[in-house]
């Protein structure tokens, strides 16, 4: 049976129209993976000498164990945002003679072979080899490496629990951010010193291998928790069909002033508010707004004016990146209706454009308090907003005409996490880094004001030529109309 499951997976991946259309993206992902592997490899090889050099009086292994708490916390956070949950189309299997437990073990086992579990090995194994070379004893080194693998798997399954639970709530990523920052704070202010606890634990395992049974038991528990949790979802009335909501209606009269695009604007706003997936792109605005706090108060980044551009584009453009990249896939469920109804493509796309512009302006207004960290920041944020409105929105709309991946809004909760994962953030890269580059050249050779002016001019050009650019984008969409219709009819 497992053989069949793996076959299905293989076929699903390679037969989807998404794969065939996005080889470029896949290559990019492969490069990124390679980059991370090499980074981790370099870390693993150089870590021991560095620690030995920096802390000549202490044991490098003990020092590293002291830092593992942060490592695991970072790992958990990274997984939450980047790792895809194991997905399987289980409904057709439920009535076939396949044991439910088998399906679940397969789904969970599949998550264990994720790239994110192999990545740490690139650092762990070279470090382990260094331990052997430095005469810690082969047993200690082996035990340490096995412990690290067990912990990686614990984080893996812990993440699945957290991620699937938070997928069911309205706040998506808020729980994980709260948990992680809570743990970090408790540790940082030494209320509960998790880093010491963890270090002592791992040191104890290194000293006496019998203790390895404890993390092994924890692994068993999180696996079992996952198992029982998913077991409950394996019923058609359990999670596959979620409870019906009572509809709330409002006529949104204020959209009228937008004229011909009003009906589409209303539709988009309802889309955002009534479906879990797009709604999370609204909640993510909070993250976007707080993003500047990572950089601006930190003296390390003081005076790095090109960094303001990055933050500015991110803050005023986070909705554009998150919502925009799934245009027109948000409407894939009823794309045939839109194509056969009395609708002009131009109005449809203009509505999306207006929505993104509004988000950008609102985010700029909300980010005005950052002026506390310097007026230059406000100026750069303004330039970033103009650039987002005049350049990035068009780029993402244009990219949408290559969109061939359906999003099923009606499928909810368990086993449905389409489109989330690392790719989602990857698409944002050019949108974020190109403006930084554009700013940097005049900034370096002329001055700060020239860099800001350049971004504003580029954005203004885009705004002035709005009609022309939209006409161009509309023809692109018209050209790929039939391909989109047929791709959106496929389920995967």
């Amino acid at each position: 049976m497992i053989k069949h499951f793996i076959q299905f997976e293989w076929k699903q991946f390679f037969r989807s129209s998404y794969w065939q259309k996005s080889i470029g993206l896949n290559i990019l992902m492969a490069f990124l993976a390679l980059y991370f592997m090499l980074t981790f490899l370099a870390l693993g090889i150089s870590l021991f000498p560095i620690l030995d050099d920096q802390f000549p009086d202490s044991d490098p292994l003990l020092i590293l164990n002291g830092f593992l708490f942060y490592w695991f916390l970072a790992d958990l956070l990274m997984r939450f945002f980047l790792q895809k949950l194991p997905v399987m189309n289980i409904k057709p299997l439920l009535v076939l003679p396949v044991k439910r437990s088998k399906i679940l073990h397969y789904v969970l086992g599949k998550s264990a072979v994720s790239f994110f579990n192999f990545l740490p090995l690139f650092a762990v194994i070279p470090f382990g080899i260094m331990l052997i070379l430095e005469e810690y004893g082969t047993t200690t080194a082996m035990i340490w490496m096995v412990t690290m693998v067990i912990f990686t798997l614990i984080i893996n399954f812990l993440n699945i629990i957290i991620e699937s639970r938070s997928a069911e709530t309205e706040f998506s990523f808020l729980p994980i951010v709260l948990i992680a920052s809570g743990l970090f704070a408790l540790n940082y202010f030494e209320i509960v010193s998790f880093s010491n606890l963890l270090a002592n634990g791992i040191n104890a395992i290194d000293a006496n291998p019998v203790f390895i049974l404890i993390p092994l038991a924890i692994l068993g528990v999180v696996y079992y928790l996952n198992y029982t949790f998913l077991m409950k979802k394996l019923y058609v009335d359990g999670s596959l069909k979620a409870k019906t909501q009572t509809a709330s209606t409002s006529d949104m009269a204020w959209t009228r002033r937008f004229g011909t695009i009003a009906p589409f604007l209303q539709l988009d706003l309802k889309l955002l508010w009534r479906n879990k997936r797009p709604r999370s792109s609204v909640f993510i605005l909070i993250i976007g707004l707080a993003y500047g706090l990572f950089f601006y108060p930190n003296p390390v980044y003081n005076g790095l004016e090109w960094l303001y551009v990055f933050v500015g584009i991110f803050v005023t453009g986070i909705f554009i990146i998150n919502f925009g990249q799934f245009i027109p896939a948000w409407d894939s469920g009823y794309y045939k209706l839109l194509m056969s109804q009395n609708i002009k493509y131009k109005e449809y796309l203009n509505s999306k454009y207006t929505l993104m512009v509004m988000s950008s302006i609102i985010m700029f207004v909300l980010s005005i308090p950052y002026v506390y960290f310097g007026w230059k920041i406000l100026l750069v944020h303004f330039a970033a907003m103009v650039y987002n409105v005049g350049v990035n929105t068009y780029i993402i709309l244009l990219a949408g005409s290559f969109n061939r991946k359906k999003i099923d809004l009606t499928q909810r909760a368990a086993f449905n996490y389409q489109g989330t994962g690392a790719v989602q953030w990857l698409v944002g890269f050019p949108l974020l880094f190109v403006p930084v580059g554009l700013f940097f050249a005049p900034y370096k050779f002329i001055g700060f004001e020239a860099g800001v002016a350049f971004l504003i001019i580029l954005g203004a050009i885009g705004i002035v030529f709005h009609q022309k650019i939209m006409r161009f984008i509309v023809t692109k969409y018209l050209n790929s109309k039939y391909k989109m219709i047929s791709a959106f009819e496929q389920d995967n």
Binding site: Q245, T246, T249, Q341
Partner: protein, 231 residues
């Protein structure tokens, strides 16, 4: 009037539809029957420009559908559930379609009031999203929405499937009355030979993409169709 000329659709060398010529005059209620894979939905998709023809074209009231979009204002359709927007309530969906067809809320409310019988108190004012309605009720919404704004051409793919017997009978009456009172051209397909013969003036039988029979409905038509299909 709808006219298909030299219309064919091939998928990877396999011809799924091949119609030398087919003319549907204005005001006709036109029925399409055929077994699975006969090309019924393909034909409707071509009429609605949802797929690109391999050869030939469809002309809808002098407008070639894959060149201009001007046929859209007077053509309405319901092919399958992908024509519904799941996160809207039925009312909102009707208002949205109405707006696209130049009718305001008040117009739509008046329009909807004539379908109380068909809706059977299960659809309007229920505070439910379309995605939470049963398949049959979804279908009712889709079909009624296709009638909004007095379209001159109405395309319905399998309108009777999934409906309960009472609604089937009411829908048949509705469609018959419609072609008489409005002079709209009606294109439907069905697997139920009884239903098509009751509703349509003319029935075309497709087999493997080709037209094999083209009948003006008479008392003997049902018998003839049943004989044809009982192989």
């Amino acid at each position: 009037m709808i006219k298909a000329t030299e219309l064919s659709k091939k998928y990877g060398g396999v011809t799924v539809l091949n119609i030398a010529t087919l003319e549907i005059p204005k005001g006709q209620s036109f029925g399409l029957v055929g077994n699975n894979g006969a090309g019924k939905t393909t034909f409707f998709n071509l009429v609605l420009d949802l797929i690109n023809p391999t050869t030939g074209n469809v002309v809808n009231h002098k407008i070639q559908v894959n060149i201009s979009e001007d046929w859209k204002p007077f053509t309405a359709s319901f092919i399958d559930e992908s024509f519904l927007i799941g996160y809207l309530t039925p009312e909102e969906y009707f208002y949205f379609i109405g707006e696209l067809r130049g009718m305001n809320k008040a117009d739509i409310d008046v329009f909807l009031s004539q379908f109380d019988e068909i809706f059977n108190d299960e659809i309007l004012k229920k505070k439910k999203y379309l995605r939470d309605l049963s398949k049959g009720n979804q279908k009712k919404v889709g079909i009624i929405a296709a009638l909004i704004g007095n379209p001159e051409v109405i395309v319905l793919d399998e309108p009777f499937a999934n409906l309960d017997p009472t609604t089937q009978i009411r829908l048949k009456k509705l469609l018959r009355d419609l072609t008489i009172s409005t002079n709209a051209t009606l294109l439907i397909s069905s697997h139920d030979l009884g239903h098509v013969t009751e509703v349509c003036d003319r029935i075309v039988v497709l087999e493997k993409g080709e037209i094999v029979k083209d009948l003006i409905t008479s008392a003997e038509t049902l018998q003839e169709l049943e004989t044809y299909f009982s192989v």
